[in-house]
Every structure is written in structure tokens, then in C-alpha cells.
């Protein structure tokens, strides 16, 4: 397998902290750690990041940018159904009003998943920064497959398993 054809799978980013004045900036590595186990690794990383925004059930505190346990659960449930084993890691950003946004991006395409405070989930596809309607709208697995499929004239990813 040619390394250059493999999808980016490891994200290096400046994490947001309470004190920091940082901007999300992602770069992508080129090699998938196959030894991590049947591709489940990306979900573990994403689930871990989601939990950072989850309301602490042991306190009464419900911060401006927290999500409820139910919302987090709904999100995990949606992500659990994704069968793709190799994917770019999504950028995870809190929404005001107790929502969360996940965005998977390649060079020209993106999938944005938003979960709202009532647990509703919307999924949008973007190509060249414009929203596009896909035949499989609402099917996260299918939309993520579209994300990693090559656009016309670009080389096919080798590891879209």
C-alpha cells in the first residue's frame, strides 16, 4: 500500500483550555495504526473527546457549553453505527445552548454532524465549502463513505475499508 494514498488518520491539534487563547488548527498524519484493533480506535478517541463536554452527573453544574448525558448518549449511538474503520478524526466543537458539532474534513469535502440540546441530530455534507444534498442524506455511514471517496480526478484512498 502506498503511504501517500492512505487517508489521514492521526490528528495533531492545539486543544482548547480555559486559559488558552488558541485556535483550532489541525494537521494530519499519514499512517493508520492498524495494531490499534480493527479500526475501533477512532471511535474511542472521539468518545473520549465527547465525554469532555458531557455534564458531570455528580454535580449540579450545567455549564454553558456542556451537553447532557442523554445528548452524549444519542451522539455515541449514532457514531457506533458507523462501520468505516479508517477515518479522519473529526473536529469536535461545542455549540452554545448545550449542543455539539463534529466535522470530518478532507481537502474538498466535509461532513458536519450537529447534535442539539433535545438530542436531535442533523448531518450535512459540504463540497468546496457549499452544502450539497446527497442521496443518502441522514445516513452517517453512507455520508462518511462519500467523504472519503475520491472526488472526480483525484486518486482513490486505499484504506476506505
Amino acid at each position: 500500500m502506498i503511504l501517500a494514498t492512505m487517508p489521514p488518520v492521526i490528528e495533531y491539534r492545539q486543544e482548547f483550555t480555559r486559559e488558552a487563547n488558541t485556535t483550532v488548527e489541525s494537521a494530519w498524519a499519514q499512517v493508520a495504526p492498524d495494531s490499534y484493533g480493527q479500526g475501533r480506535w477512532w471511535k474511542e478517541i472521539v468518545f473520549s473527546r465527547i465525554s469532555k463536554f458531557e455534564r458531570n452527573p455528580e454535580t449540579e453544574e450545567f455549564g454553558t457549553f456542556n451537553i447532557s448525558e442523554q445528548v452524549a448518549q444519542r451522539l455515541r449511538s449514532n457514531l457506533s453505527k458507523v462501520t468505516l474503520q479508517s477515518l479522519p478524526l473529526p473536529t469536535i466543537v461545542p455549540l452554545s445552548g448545550h449542543g455539539l458539532s463534529l466535522a470530518w474534513a478532507t481537502r474538498t469535502r466535509a461532513i458536519e454532524l450537529s447534535v442539539f440540546a433535545d438530542g436531535d441530530v442533523t448531518i450535512d455534507a459540504l463540497e468546496a465549502n457549499n452544502y450539497v444534498d446527497l442521496p443518502d442524506a441522514g445516513d452517517l455511514d453512507a455520508m462518511l463513505r462519500w467523504l472519503i471517496l475520491p472526488a472526480e480526478g483525484q486518486p482513490r484512498h486505499a484504506a476506505a475499508r
Binding site: G63, F65, V93, P94, L95, S101, E112, A117, D124
Partner: protein, 147 residues
């Protein structure tokens, strides 16, 4: 949920929204707002009417300290957008002073009653392109101009 678009907030009026650091992305080497900026999990994105809070200086002086208390950190950027641009995206503006210390300058950007969440997400997410990003940490020079 708001029941109507408050047309007493005229189209030329500028709204200010505080921006989290992770609502900024780097594109082509420039800081830009991302689609999370105006999208709200409860469909009501808080903003402040610029002229009613004393512009950016008034916002920094009177609103920012209270936001800092609520957010747990001090926002260093704001987005400004005209109400006309919000309405062009088929979204409503509605005063909600009760949700920010009874401040009458507090408004929310929200969907109309008939708008689906999916459409709301796209419309609210797209407002970033009509907004202007300002760094309020040390200067007020715009980082991004509306296209």
C-alpha cells in the same frame, strides 16, 4: 421559542456575538469563523445589539465581564453581523432580555416556527460568511471581511 421576528430591530443594526476560540479555524493562513459560531444547540444564539450596548467598547466594558463569569474564560474575539444578513438567511431576531440579566440589548437569532432543524443548521452555519471577525483582546482591526 420566539413566536415572531422582531421587526423593531431594523435591518441595518449590527449584532455582536462573543466567539469561543474553537469557533475559529485557520483557512489559507487566516483566522476565520467556522460554522459553529452562530449555530445554537437550543436554536437561540445570543447576540447583543451593538448600538444599545455602546458599541464594541461598551460590549467589552459591560457585557464581557458577565460572559467571562458564565463561560469561565474571557472571549478574545467577537463576530459582528447585521440583522439584515440574518434575515436574508431566513432566520429571526427576537429580544430576550430575561436571558441575560434583563439587558434589553440581548437578542437571539432563531429559526422561524416552520423551519426544520436541518435547514436551521445550514442557515445558522452559513452566517459565518456574512459576519465579520474582530479581535477584541488588544485591537479592533477586522480579521475577516464579509464577502
Amino acid at each position: 421559542m420566539p413566536q415572531h421576528d422582531d421587526r423593531t430591530v431594523h435591518d441595518h443594526i449590527s449584532l455582536i456575538r462573543a466567539v469561543r476560540p474553537d469557533w475559529l479555524s485557520i483557512e489559507d493562513g487566516q483566522q476565520r469563523l467556522n460554522s459553529a459560531t452562530f449555530k445554537d444547540g437550543s436554536l437561540e444564539a445570543s447576540c447583543f445589539i451593538s448600538e444599545e450596548v455602546g458599541g464594541l467598547e461598551g460590549f467589552k466594558r459591560d457585557i464581557l465581564p458577565r460572559l467571562e463569569e458564565e463561560w469561565g474564560f474571557r472571549p478574545t474575539h467577537v463576530a459582528t453581523i447585521t440583522t439584515g444578513a440574518v434575515r436574508a438567511a431566513e432566520l429571526w431576531i427576537y429580544r430576550k432580555p430575561e436571558e441575560f440579566h434583563n439587558n434589553p440589548a440581548h437578542v437571539v437569532i432563531c429559526p422561524s416556527n416552520e423551519m426544520s432543524k436541518s435547514k436551521y443548521g445550514r442557515k445558522a452555519g452559513g452566517l459565518k460568511d456574512a459576519a465579520q471577525l474582530l479581535n477584541i483582546a488588544d485591537e479592533q482591526e477586522p480579521n475577516q471581511t464579509a464577502e
